[in-house]
Symmetry: C2
Subunit: 211 residues, 2 copies
């Protein structure tokens, strides 16, 4: 009986923390990360300041949890497409799923990306030393490199290409497309066209033809 | 005599505005854009609040001037290399100068880029509607497209490539490298290697060989 009492309670706690993180996202997306305080988040979440502090004794702990949650949601957002692509064993589909997974496709995605940029801006002004935040781009580059090497081993991508440099070009291009979407220079369709153009080049081994 | 009285005075005014912008940059780079107030900038510039308000009646006008100054400084930073490259008539050198001109190469460059990201984050949380800020990426894409078309006309880049899409891939990749440098995922040398790798591919018309 001890376990059945305990498990639902722990789930609730985690759910409550996530609700608080969602309130934080709404504030950060609308007013920036500097507007985030325990008090403002409590108000936005419709709960007491005491309850917020029960879960997050300090603002820093709340911000750290919310950042991890953003990364987790980003992973979930991209994850389904990646898992699906991995099942096909088609490296081009896997690379495409990784890259498209970075881009926002709806209003919620845009909001989460805006919050990510807000974290990024704060991190940069502090000297770019937050190890949690630095991990996202290298992680993507490593995943892409693995897929490119695998496609090279199966002779789908020319062996003389530098897998790591190709991954660097794809990952940074997609990071730039993400920011381009947030400032409305590109829409998601245009970004997808650009990604497909580069993947066509990579997999054809010859220069892609103009449409 | 009227002109000689007047001209230096106007120069001083512009110089004073730029000093105020520099004080704003220092605050924004260290604490983010939300820490920028007329009072804080006056203190950082070592001048009176009244004098700041003489030049900038509102915080918004000060922020707008500082943004234009950042763009101007970015243009100056890249400009010398671009003018030099244009003189050679070598499109590859011009493209390279445009792209490397985006990247920070020293501490001051990093500071200005950090401030740019801070502006960007504020812009994004407001919905990405600031026409001044949106202009930077399209401007770069247009300049790159022109150079690629010119190189295609001179048969230095294969004619079947889509100049516009190639420009999109280069500009967004470089925007991603800029943020990668700010979070220390890449240093400037690595970013330069990645840019050269892509330019080699573009100009060779065949796939670049691994080093």
């Amino acid at each position: 009986m001890w376990h059945s009492d305990r498990v639902p309670k722990r789930v609730d706690h985690q759910e409550r923390r996530r609700e608080i993180a969602e309130a934080l996202f709404r504030i950060a997306a609308a007013q920036g990360l500097q507007a985030v305080t325990l008090r403002a988040v409590a108000a936005a979440a419709g709960i007491s300041m005491n309850l917020v502090q029960y879960y997050f004794p300090t603002k820093e702990e709340m911000l750290r949890f919310a950042w991890q949650r953003i990364a987790e949601l980003g992973g979930e957002r991209a994850g389904a497409g990646i898992v699906e692509a991995l099942r096909t064993g088609d490296e081009r589909a896997v690379l495409r799923a990784y890259l498209l997974g970075v881009l926002p496709t709806d209003e919620r995605g845009r909001m989460l990306c805006a919050v990510q940029i807000a974290y990024f801006a704060v991190d940069v002004t502090r000297g770019g030393q937050d190890p949690d935040q630095e991990a996202l781009l290298p992680h993507l580059v490593n995943a892409l490199t693995d897929q490119i090497r695998q496609a090279q081993a199966r002779q789908r991508i020319p062996a003389h290409l530098d897998a790591r440099l190709e991954a660097d070009t794809l990952a940074t291009m997609t990071a730039g497309l993400l920011t381009g979407i947030l400032v409305d220079t590109y829409d998601t369709d245009q970004a997808t066209t650009i990604i497909d153009y580069r993947l066509d080049q990579l997999f054809s081994g010859i220069r892609a033809a103009a449409p």
